[in-house]
């Protein structure tokens, strides 16, 4: 089974960490993460850029593009797509078409790829189902 570990934290606080403190937190996590990697169980690892870089599309009768992250609490995070596009406009275009006739919101966040998918080929295939 594929799982996602989603990391929530106070952004202002994390931005107040020094580079060294930030690196120390990641290094601490890496003990567990490296174990998964050695077992061939680590998929791509990404860090989201700050919410200030986010754009949202609210779906509905009329789709609305909003600056900033998704802020409602009555909806839940239910899935994610990782896409490789040339510009925000290109992503928005795709997301608009995806969301036609739906309600809910898509939040678009630029990513920093920390690690590519490090699972072996056979594991990637079997995990797809």
């Amino acid at each position: 089974m594929l799982y996602a570990i989603l990391c929530y934290h106070d952004e202002g606080l994390v931005e107040s960490w020094t580079k060294e403190e930030d690196a120390a937190v990641l290094a601490k996590r890496h003990v567990a993460v490296n174990k998964l990697r050695d077992q061939g169980k680590l998929g791509p690892v990404v860090r989201l850029m700050p919410t200030t870089a986010a754009t949202s599309i609210r779906n509905g009768k009329e789709q609305l593009v909003l600056d900033g992250p998704f802020a409602e609490t009555k909806e839940q995070l239910l899935g994610l797509y990782i896409v490789d596009c040339e510009s925000l406009d290109e992503v928005l275009e795709a997301a608009r078409i995806m969301g036609q006739g739906e309600s809910g919101t898509f939040e678009i966040r630029p990513l920093k790829l920390m690690w590519p998918d490090s699972r072996p080929e056979d594991r990637r295939k079997s995990a797809q189902s």
């Binding site: 106070d10 202002g12 960490w17 403190e21 120390a24 200030t52 870089a53 909003l66 600056d67 406009d89």
Partner: protein, 415 residues
Amino acid sequence: MTDLAWIDAALTSARPQAVAALLRYFRDLDTAEEAYQEACLRALKTWPEKGPPRDAASWLIMVGRNAALDDVRKRSRNTALPEDELVDNEEIEVDLADRLDNANYRDDVLRLLFVCVHPELPATQQIALALRIVSGLTVKEIARAFLVSEAAMEQRITRAKARIAAADVPFATPGAVERSERLGAVAAMIYLLFTEGYSASGGEAHIRQPLCDEAIRLARLLLRLFPSEPEIMGLTALCLLQHARTPARLDAKGEIVLLEEQDRGKWDRDMIAEGLALLDKSIRHRQPGPYQVQAALAAVHAQAATPAETDWSAIDGLYATLENLQPSPVVTLNRAVAVSKIKGAAAALAMIEPLAKPLAGYFHFHGLRGGLLLQLGQAEEARRAFDRAIGLAHTPAEAAHIRQHLDRLQKDSAA
């Protein structure tokens, strides 16, 4: 991370919101700061044991407010109250959920920043005040960054505060026009703070570069409050895209390395990526402004793998836009560099001739003019321009760059 480091980061992060709310409540900067200090002391006492509260800023606002009110009561009755009533994190949070007005928060923080950009204060005092009040740097830290003694900085900040206290701090909720004016003034101060750090070279660089980090932190704070302002996106992008070059900007001696000579492999790719993402967002608004255009200029350089791959016609177009938005001889001079790459030295030289008077005392004018004359084979005229430039150089790197040209001229004429 140790408890202390964690708490320190939490306090730093919560500070702008907490002090801003306390300022609205007490309408006096000193009282607000003292109240915040008191709240921090109590946080250091209770957080290690009870764990940090979920909403640190709200906790600090409530505890700070109560502490300051106690203090006022104590003084008025002249009797001691029971020492340090225990503070219960959860009780306070429940209490606060109802009382904290989030709609005010945005204008609170903007007001706190705006207080620092009082027009009567010289620019460096505005920055020093913002670092003290909003960022919470100690006077010692600020003095170090400004390369002055602690006593001198203490005096500067005290004077600046006295000036603010005498002026009317606007407490009414601002209208749309006022808000946008305040935002503009605060953005200018943040960029000034950035350039204070960015312009440092020599032995000062490592002391002053934290000013850049602080400017970026404030820009992001402002952008979180005003997520749909393209110029604030542009400002944040501009700072990020410039700061990305920092690892390549100074040589082993701490002297500035010119853009075309920098090792681009050392540029911070994460900062560039974030800057580009913000710029991309801002452009969708179709409301160009000086910060966005300058960020776009930095982006063109950031995207060129080598100096030769620079898209000079994009740069020419962006400077043309900037000339329209914010006409200045320096902008025209910069545009001429792009023109020289596209249309040749003669076209660029014609473009900068009218700038001879306004830029008579400007190093880069004479440096560029000398370079263009050299390309056109006018050695004697070039030498004269370079001589002028070298007399106006501010840094050893600038002077060294010009000396290279002069040496080459010398060699050519000897040959």
